[in-house]
């Protein structure tokens, strides 16, 4: 697939409920300073002409049926570029009553209808810089390397040694023998909270 779109990629811009921030930046990527056309990227006016969809904004309930229809009109193989934090994960609206969330939520609905999940590139940012959008589009075509990596850090069990066992034991004894005044308790409770 990446070989098919390496030299040419036509993008249809689909606003699913965005605030305009990302839409303007998508358009901005085609202006002289960034000029996405030098990589063979072109904005097209119809989803039928497109190879990729630049999706901006959280998926709103009202826009959903149209979004599905637009996605279906794009011929295979298709790429979805989810632009902005709203499209990636729902953004600040993620749990609102009239918003479904990010593209993942859209795919869940598509899968129920038996529609294959397209290749997706996430471009977070609020809004992402036009360069970041360009980078995302190039990443989808395998022309740049991915820099962002997920990171999971879990503290080792030896962390428990940070607080000396003696101290804990002494506290336990102290408490068991109830030598603490109420004032102290209240003060410390407020600090910890």
């Amino acid at each position: 697939m990446s070989s098919l779109y390496r030299k040419s990629l036509w993008v249809f811009h689909l606003n699913t409920g965005s605030c305009n921030g990302c839409d303007i930046e998508v358009l901005n990527a085609f202006t002289p300073a960034q000029d996405a056309e030098r990589f063979g990227v072109k904005l097209v006016g119809s989803p039928r002409h497109a190879d990729a969809i630049a999706l901006t904004g959280p998926i709103t309930r009202e826009a959903l049926p149209r979004v599905i229809r637009a996605l279906q009109a794009v011929p295979e193989p298709k790429i979805v570029v989810a632009i902005g934090s709203c499209a990636c994960g729902g953004g600040i609206w993620h749990d609102s009553y009239s918003v479904l969330g990010g593209v993942e939520k859209l795919y869940e609905i598509l899968e129920k209808k038996g529609i294959k999940r397209p290749i997706t590139v996430f471009v977070p940012g609020c809004p992402p810089k036009p360069e970041a959008i360009l980078y995302g589009i190039l990443l989808a075509r395998g022309m740049v390397k991915q820099k962002q990596k997920g990171r999971i850090y879990v503290e080792s069990e030896s962390a428990e040694l940070m607080i000396s066992k003696d101290l804990i034991e002494s506290v336990k004894e102290q408490v068991m023998s109830s030598k603490i005044s109420r004032k102290q308790v209240e003060k410390i409770t407020s600090i910890v909270r």
Partner: protein, 558 residues
């Protein structure tokens, strides 16, 4: 209320016998209670005698406060610098109030929004259809009631293909239209609009007979999220995301509203920085609009030139705020610390603005004097002075129709009282006039910024205050690049707003679009729609019809 007893407004209120029930909520806002059957007289007198205009209506679920629903109609007396709130009460069991749409056509959308979101009905409303909520939304669930949970997601029905256009306006009878003319849908995913919005344009050959509008596809539930999940300090960040172009103006209006309600005095430096960022936003918004307008006129080179010049403004915004969209600087009480403009940056900003001005002036006159551009904008999409007044249009759109209005000048906020600028007004009312008004505003904005930079005071950035008092009403108003942006706030408990309603300028301006489209050529429809600089996401704060809907196919295969 004594200060008003001898004034024009005092006389007016006394005449109607509502002076006693009127109170001052903040120095520039008065609240009229218990109007009852004098509502129509009051509205008429406010508009005719005070030269006030209707701004918006707000529905509030005040059951937890005083046991009833309330509707606030906001009138703005521009010359007096006064906001007049008319409060109507509706009982929780039968929430019905009298509609003012029969005498003020501009109240149509605002009242239907209240019906959708709060569930207060308006007796006598000519088109009581659903406006904002999706069509598969259950009919007895009102999202802005306090007993509705903000993340209550109702299951999506599988088939929503049947779309009822309850929100549209018909001038010619709909059936007749469909029989005789071809319908060309513009939107929701139309390359000219870049936003999902739907105009159904009825054409006879290439001539437009009528147009209908369906919006609110971007309804994201902003107000509900702000009233439930977010705290006072978090709301500015969602307010900015009402609109990606004029976001800063929304967060400023919100902050002003809360500050007015709580009586917080914002330090001078914060006011100056707000004004500087607001003007940067205005320049970028106008340049963006001009670029898009030239693109719609098919002059792509003009589009590229405008956006190339704009790129420098974006760099400036990025340098000052760390984000190309000036997002994130506002907080209730002032400006956040990392958004301070340091002394070293001032020469850089001035240099950059000068080079932008120089380059901009080198091109703009030549572009607007081109024959095709002139031919396609002069005497196209005319909105007369009278119609502009009737639909209470705002901002550059109103100024191009000869209405001298500007919040910055006549109801100054932030640091606008400290600077000297003129308000460009044109009388033609066509697309060309709208281009010229915006062009002149760009130059004014550049001069405003340099004046502000010259006298940047050295004060703290954020006012110190203990807490925000409860149940206070505040109105914040700013001049967004598209017109007056009004935010209404009722403060609440637990560090949260009780009710917040933003009303973006496009909400009023969009209503005038079908009027302008009628009788024009289809080829001109995109530029006419775009000439009001429609910001659909502003209007919908939460909301297009598709080329591929079943409806359209039916129309065609007929």
């Amino acid at each position: 209320m004594q200060q008003f007893s001898d004034s024009k407004i005092g006389d007016l209120l006394k005449k109607l016998g509502v002076f006693g029930t009127t109170s001052i909520v903040t120095p520039n806002t008065i609240l009229i209670n218990n109007v009852d059957d004098k509502l129509y007289d009051l509205c008429r007198l406010l508009i005719e005698e005070l030269d006030a205009y209707y701004s918006t209506s707000i529905g509030v679920d005040e059951r937890p406060l005083n046991g009833s629903f309330a509707v606030y109609h906001v009138f703005v007396a521009d010359k007096l610098g006064l906001y007049i709130l008319v409060r109507l009460e509706a009982s929780p069991s039968h929430p019905i109030v009298k509609s003012i749409t029969p005498i003020i056509p501009g109240a149509d959308w605002a009242e239907r929004e209240v019906m959708d979101m709060i569930g207060v009905k308006f007796a006598g409303h000519p088109r009581p259809y659903r406006l904002i909520l999706p069509y598969d939304w259950p009919s007895n669930i009102y999202p802005l009631r306090k007993d509705f949970d903000y993340n209550d997601k109702y299951p999506i029905k599988d088939k929503i293909d049947k779309v009822i256009h309850g929100s549209t306006e018909y001038v010619v009878d709909k059936e007749v239209l469909e029989e005789e003319y071809t319908a060309v849908p513009i939107g929701p995913y139309h390359p000219a609009l870049h936003e999902p919005e739907y105009f159904e344009v009825y054409v006879d050959g290439e001539k437009i007979v009528d147009a209908r509008y369906k919006g609110f596809f971007i309804h994201r539930g902003i107000e509900k999220i702000a009233e439930t999940r977010l705290t006072y300090d978090q709301v500015p960040f969602i307010a900015e995301r009402i609109c990606g172009i004029c976001g800063f103006t929304h967060s400023t209006a919100y902050c002003l509203a809360v500050e007015n309600a709580a009586g917080i005095n914002v330090p001078e430096r914060a006011n100056y920085i707000r004004s500087i960022l607001l003007e940067i936003e205005r320049i970028h918004s106008h340049l963006l609009w001009m670029g898009v307008a030239f693109h719609l006129l098919g002059y792509d080179t003009g589009f590229m030139i405008m956006w190339r010049i704009r790129e420098k403004i974006m760099d400036l915004a990025e340098e000052l705020t760390g984000n190309r969209k000036t997002y994130g600087a506002n907080i209730v009480g002032g400006i956040r610390k990392r958004f301070d403009i340091s002394e070293e940056k001032i020469p850089y900003i001035k240099r950059l603005l000068n080079s932008v001005k120089e380059e901009y002036l080198k091109y703009i006159d030549k572009i607007v004097s081109m024959t095709e551009i002139r031919k396609r904008t002069r005497e196209v999409g005319i909105l007369t002075h009278e119609d502009a007044k009737k639909y209470s249009v705002l901002g550059p759109h109103a100024r191009a129709s000869g209405i001298n209005t500007d919040v910055r000048k006549y109801r100054p906020y932030a640091a606008y009282s400290e600077v000297d600028f003129k308000v460009p007004v044109r009388d033609e009312g066509d697309v060309y006039a709208r281009i010229i008004v915006r062009h002149e505003e760009v130059l004014e904005s550049i001069s405003i910024i340099s004046q502000l930079l010259d006298n940047l005071p050295k004060t703290p950035l954020r006012a110190e205050f203990d807490f925000i008092p409860e149940k206070r009403i505040g109105i914040g108003c700013t001049e967004a690049p598209r017109g007056e942006d009004l935010h209404f706030v009722i403060t609440g408990y637990g560090n949260k707003v009780y009710r917040w309603r933003p009303r973006a300028p496009s909400y009023n301006n969009l209503a005038s679009v079908p009027l302008m489209l009628r009788g024009e050529k289809l080829a001109d429809a995109p530029i006419i729609i775009a000439s009001i600089d429609p910001c659909f996401s502003c209007t919908d704060h939460v909301v297009v019809i598709d080329i591929k809907t079943g409806r359209r196919r039916k129309l065609v295969s007929r």
